[in-house]
C-alpha cells in the first residue's frame, strides 16, 4: 500500500474515513510528506549517497593522482563556449618573494569539457571495473575545486571522501542500532537487576565527554593496521559510545509496552520472549527508533570527521572529509588556499539535511497524536 492508495481511498470515501482505514505507516508517510523541509532533506541526502556510490564515474581523475605541474591550483570555473561547457587554462608565474606559484586565468586557453571520456581505471562499488568518466578534459586540466599541496584534484578527492564519510555514518549507526536494540531490549524486557546494571552503564556512557574518549580509543589503534581495518576500527569506536542513546529509547518504550494487553495475550498464547519482542513490541516503537537513528547518523559523520581531522582517525591514502580537512588546519594555508575548506561545506550540508529529515520523521513518528 502506498500514498497513492491512500489518495484513492480519500477520494472515494472522504478524508476523514481514509484516516481511519490507513495503516500506521501510511499515516506516517502522509505526514512526513507534508513537511517540505524534510522531503527536501531526504532528496538531498539521497543525491549525496548516489554521488558517493558513483564517485568513480563522476570524478574526472583518481584521488591519489598527482599533477605535479599544478600544485595548489585554484578552482577552475565552468563557462560556456557557444553552448558547450568549457574551462579556461591557467597561466603560472612565481612570486619572487615567497616563491609561491601564482595562478591567473588564461582566457586564451579554453578547453571544452568532453563527456563520457575514457580515463583512469576505477571500480563501481568496488566491484565493476570501468574507465568511463562522466566528464574530462583530455587536452588540458579540469580542477573544479582546485588542487592540494601535491597537485591532487580536490573535486575527485571530495567525491571519493563522501563515499567513506557517508558510509561510516551508516555502518556505525547500523552497529550502534544492533547493540542498542539488543542491550536496550534485554534491559527493558527483563527489568530488575539486569535493567539496573545496564541503566547505570548507559548513564555512565552518557555522562562522560565523548570526544576525549573517542580520541583516546582511536589513538590506540595500532598504526600498522591496513586502512580497511582502521576504517572498521573507527566505526566500532564510534558505535561503542553511540549505542547508549538508542538503548535508552528501546528500553523506555519496551517498559511502556510491556504492560499492554496485547503483550499479555501473546504470552498467554505461548509466544516466546524473542517473538514477543520482535513481532509484537518492535513494530510499536520502530518509528521512534528510526527518528533516533536519523539523528545519530550525522553525529557519527561528525565524529569520524573530527577524529580524522585531528589525525587520529582514518589515515591517507584513504580519503574522507576529515582527512581532507587535515590540510586546512593552519590559518596561513586556508587564507592562501580557501578552497581547501570545501569539504567543510559538504559536511555542513549533509548534517543539516539529516537534521531536516530527522525533524520531519520526529513529527511524523506518532501519527495518532494530532490526527
Amino acid at each position: 500500500m502506498n500514498t497513492r492508495a491512500t489518495d484513492a481511498l480519500a477520494k472515494t470515501m472522504g478524508e476523514e474515513e481514509a484516516i481511519y482505514v490507513s495503516s500506521q505507516w501510511q499515516l506516517i508517510r502522509a505526514k512526513f510528506l507534508k513537511h517540505r523541509l524534510a522531503v527536501f532533506g531526504t532528496i538531498v541526502v539521497a543525491l549525496f549517497y548516489l554521488m558517493a556510490i558513483f564517485s568513480g564515474f563522476l570524478s574526472p581523475y583518481e584521488p591519489n593522482e598527482r599533477h605535479t605541474d599544478y600544485v595548489y591550483a585554484p578552482p577552475q570555473s565552468i563557462h560556456f563556449s557557444g553552448l558547450r561547457p568549457a574551462v579556461y587554462g591557467y597561466q603560472q608565474t612565481e612570486d619572487p618573494k615567497s616563491f609561491r606559484r601564482l595562478y591567473t586565468v588564461d582566457r586564451d586557453k579554453s578547453y571544452l569539457l568532453r563527456f563520457f571520456v575514457r580515463g583512469t581505471k576505477y571500480k563501481i562499488l568496488g566491484l565493476i571495473p570501468s574507465t568511463v568518466h562522466l566528464f574530462g578534459v583530455p587536452d588540458g586540466t579540469v580542477f573544479l575545486f582546485g588542487t592540494d599541496r601535491l597537485g591532487r584534484d580536490l573535486f575527485t578527492r571530495n567525491l571519493y571522501s563522501s563515499a567513506i564519510s557517508l558510509s561510516i555514518g551508516l555502518l556505525g549507526v547500523a552497529l550502534a542500532f544492533f547493540l542498542g536494540c539488543l542491550i536496550g531490549g534485554i534491559s527493558g524486557f527483563y527489568g530488575g537487576l539486569v535493567d539496573n546494571v545496564i541503566q547505570r552503564m548507559i548513564e555512565f556512557l552518557r555522562s562522560v565527554p565523548t570526544i576525549p574518549l573517542w580520541m583516546a580509543l582511536s589513538a590506540a589503534l595500532p598504526p600498522q593496521w591496513p586502512p580497511l581495518r582502521i576504517y572498521f576500527g573507527i566505526t566500532m569506536i564510534l558505535s561503542l559510545v553511540g549505542w547508549a542513546g538508542l538503548a535508552r529509547v528501546v528500553r523506555g518504550k519496551l517498559l511502556e509496552l510491556r504492560e499492554e494487553d496485547f503483550v499479555m495475550a501473546a504470552r498467554l498464547a505461548g509466544a516466546s520472549d524473542a517473538r514477543i519482542i520482535a513481532r509484537h513490541m518492535l513494530p510499536g516503537f520502530m518509528s521512534y527508533l528510526i527518528v533516533d537513528v536519523t539523528f545519530s547518523i550525522p553525529d557519527m559523520i561528525i565524529g569520524e570527521t573530527a577524529l580524522s581531522f585531528l589525525g587520529l582517525g582514518l589515515r591517507p591514502p584513504v580519503v574522507s572529509w576529515g582527512v581532507l580537512l587535515q590540510d586546512a588546519q593552519n590559518i596561513r594555508t586556508i587564507t592562501q588556499q580557501p578552497w581547501l575548506l570545501i569539504p567543510a561545506l559538504f559536511i555542513i550540508v549533509v548534517v543539516l539535511m539529516f537534521n531536516f529529515v530527522g525533524d520531519g520523521l520526529r513529527d511524523a513518528a506518532d501519527p495518532y497524536k494530532t490526527v
Partner: protein, 329 residues
Amino acid sequence: MFGFIVRRVLYMFVVLIAVSVVSFVIIELPPGDYLTSYIVRLKQTGGGTITEDQIASLRKQYGLDLPMYQRYLKWMWNMIHGDMGRSFQFGEPVWDLVMQRLPMTILLSLATIIFSYAVAVPMGIYSAIHQYSFGDHALTALGFTGVAIPNFLLALIVMFGLHRYFGLNIGGLFSPQYATAAWSGAKVLDLLKHLPAPILVIGLSNLAWLIRIMRGTLLDELNRPYVAVARSKGLKESTLLWKYPVRIAINPIISTIGYSLPAIFSGSTIVSIVLNIPTIGPLLFTALVSQDSYLAGSCVFLLSALTVVGTLISDILLAYVDPRIRLVQ
C-alpha cells in the same frame, strides 16, 4: 535534602571509579608498556645499553611485573596521593602538567555554560511569545545551523573569517606579550578580549538546542487553561508571563545541564585544539600523538571527572530549586 546529597555523592564515586577504570584501560591499551617506550627513548638519546638485570629491576620498581588489577590499584593509590606518573614527552610529573591547565579548562567551560543559558532563556522566551514571527523563524534557522556545523569546523571558519576580513588572529587565549607574563590587570583584560570567540564557538550548538527546548516547553505552558484564566481575569500580560509559565518552563531547562556538560567538555576539547587554547584538550592531543600514555589517561580521567562533578553540582542545585526532584529520587 541531606539524604539526597549523600546518595548522589556516593553514586558519583561509583561513576568516578568506572571512569578511572576506563582511563586505566586507555593507559594500558597501546602495545608495549611504560618501560619499553622508556628503553626505546633511552637508546634514541644515546643513553647507552641497558642490561637485562636493569630492566628486571626497573620492571619491579614500576610494578610492571604485577597482574593488571594490582597495577590498577597501585595507579589509583598513587593518584589519590597526587602522583599520576611521569610524562615521557615533557619529563615532568603528569600531576603538575595537568594542574597548570585545569583552571583554564574550568573557566572556559563554566563561561560557555553561563553564556549559553543566559542567552538561550531570553531568546527562547522571545521565540515562544512571538511564535511564527520573523524573529522566531530567524532563531529556528540559527538553531538548525548551530546544530549542523560541528564546532571544530565553526572554529576553523570563524578563524578564517576573522583573519581574512578583519586581520584578527583569535588563536590562543592571550596576546603574545601576555602569554608568559605574570597575572596582572592588563593580562586579565587581554584574556577577556580573547574569550568571546571560543565561548561562542563551543556554545553555539548547545545554545541552539536550549533555545528550542525553552521555546517548546514555554509554548506548551502558554496553551494551558490556567494562562487563559489568568488572562480572562485581566492580569497584565507581562506579569502573567513572568510569574507563571516562564517559571515552570525554566525547570526543564535547568535539568538539561546534566546533558549539556558532557557536550561542552567534549566541544571545548576539540575547539581548544583548533584554536590553540591552553586547556587540557590540546595536552591530551599531544599526549595521544606521542603515545605518552600516563598523560593521556590522566587527561581523559580528569576531563570525565570534571564532567561528573559538574553534573553532581547541577543535580544538587536542581534539587534545591525544585523540591519534587529530591522527593522522587
